[in-house]
Symmetry: C2
Amino acid sequence: MMGKFLHGPGVPARLLKQMAFLLEMDKLKTVLRRTPLLDNSRPETDAEHCWELAVMAIVLAEYAEPPIDLGHVLKLVAVHDIVEIDAGDTFLYDDSRVLDQLERERDAAARLFALLPDDQACAFRALWDEFIASETPEARFAKALDRLQPLLHNYFSGGGTWKTPGVNSAIVHQRKRVIGLASPTLWRYGEHLLARAVEDGLLAPPPD
Amino acid sequence: MMGKFLHGPGVPARLLKQMAFLLEMDKLKTVLRRTPLLDNSRPETDAEHCWELAVMAIVLAEYAEPPIDLGHVLKLVAVHDIVEIDAGDTFLYDDSRVLDQLERERDAAARLFALLPDDQACAFRALWDEFIASETPEARFAKALDRLQPLLHNYFSGGGTWKTPGVNSAIVHQRKRVIGLASPTLWRYGEHLLARAVEDGLLAPPPD
């Protein structure tokens, strides 16, 4: 298999393993999320979403409480969805798929990161585990951006996934409030958009 | 215009400017590059390309000579193609468009970064200027990845943009050799792939 990535003079075997991993990464461009582009022309891809989180991290880092190491957040957001190459995107409001999400994603992590040399496989797994555990300030901030981004897209594209049957503002509020653990300011803005979304008829109010 | 991004209690005016910029960023997902996905199903988008460079930076940082500040490289690659929202992707082998590329991109930078608060407009412009000037080790490495990524895609998708009339291995070699300024190891691999591409009939040999 590694021959495919072309041994050659002065080319370390380690680099060929890294290339095998990097070429596999291309598949994240074919994993579609539920979130629409703002012009509603199509859903975004996972790879596009990951890039958007990087730009959000750079622009919004100042709102992190406590302050974060931006370089580390950029690593977390670059890596956080790689498992979806195998596990697919799990829609936040699809309770049946959320149930076995972690198991599917752990299998994916096991296969995908093992393409890398051992030390880097460990490093990537550690980044992904850190993101999932959401205990460090950097992981909490990365998770906050990951929850804020579709909220922005839904509001500014005119509803997006909020139109899914069964979704209402109480459910959305509950899934999004982790934003406040990383940044009270960003969560105030998020809550403000959610309130406006209900007023504007983009999001169903809580059921009686 | 800013009202569109929704003033509200406890929402800083600064944050609304940042949101205006971030929402504009979504357009980078609609800018198509010439580079095909590895499965040849479609061209990649600029946003996807930027994410791929981030993962490449994390995996390949060890080959940078001199060593680089990875966090800074991740900022450079996240920002390096934002100007293409207005200026479009300029194909490396389209000499007529390469001529006025910098002028088109400077106009784009002036409009797009001005959406941000002044301090961040300056910071983003400084990152883009650094990438273009390619004088720091981080910018040289980011540029090397930007040149290596389509080389990988062309080889492993079976030719890609190398099939464009007028493109041959001498021209490709000349445009790609900047990779060696940031990493002799990565350039050895790149040269090896180019030689194999000619042998495999994926890339025309130099003209007589």
